[in-house]
């Protein structure tokens, strides 16, 4: 997982790379919560471009991060969702509360790598 923080617009981007299941969700959860609590971002983006698999554990993890970001008054979006991952997202109904926003990761200046 690659993490980028764009200072200018207080945007925190998580580029997820693995298969998201119960096992990997635990790791993503810990890292994401740590970064969110440090930066208190206005916007958090989960970039799923390189995610080839996701099950309902991933759904639970995404809802949890959405709640955390909302608690701090930020917005939470997901981007670059492929067909296979989209099927699970659609079935779970979370697209009613969480937005898929494409082309939201066009960076800019002041990118602070948190890797």
């Amino acid at each position: 997982m690659q993490v980028q923080y764009i200072k200018k617009n207080k945007m925190l981007i998580f580029k997820l790379t693995e298969e998201i299941d119960h096992h990997t969700s635990e790791k993503i959860r810990k890292r994401a919560d740590y970064e969110i609590e440090i930066h208190i971002p206005k916007k958090v983006v989960f970039d799923l471009e390189n995610v080839t698999f996701m099950d309902s554990s991933g759904i639970g993890m995404i809802i949890g991060r959405y709640k955390l970001v909302s608690l701090f008054g930020g917005t939470f979006v997901i981007t670059n969702v492929n067909k296979i991952v989209k099927k699970t997202l659609e079935m779970s109904g979370i697209l009613k509360i969480i937005q898929i926003e494409d082309n939201c990761c066009i960076g800019g200046n002041n990118i602070e790598e948190c890797v």
Partner: protein
Amino acid sequence: MKNVYKNEMKLEFLSKSCNENFARTTVAAFATQLDPTIEEIADIKTAISEAVTNSIIHGYENTEGTIYIYCKLTDDYIEIQIVDNGKGIENIEEAKKPLFSSKPMLERAGMGFTIMENFMDSMEIESSVGKGTKVTLKKVIKKDAPIKA
């Protein structure tokens, strides 16, 4: 009587979350003998992942136990049984309801059985409290589907 199954496979592994990937990938590899589409493979992987995760989190409640997977192939479908000797399900109808989770504090989506039911062609749950759970999933692999570029 002649065996209708043309191939069979058994898996046995410990209820550790790092085995979830192993289980779904192995079953998917076995299923490729039926020449499924990428979507069908993804459906099978997701359903297996849900069943195995259920056994780990709910069946064995993160303690060490053994999970068994039995796979059978016919000419046009795969049948997969996921078996644990965990604590069992008290109320199967309740467990199957979308968004129901007995462990909401663990950020469970409560979608496991809903996904299994929708991604596969059939799902049967047998469970007895204190003894364990057996989930039987079936997926028809459509041979006559048009070839996609």
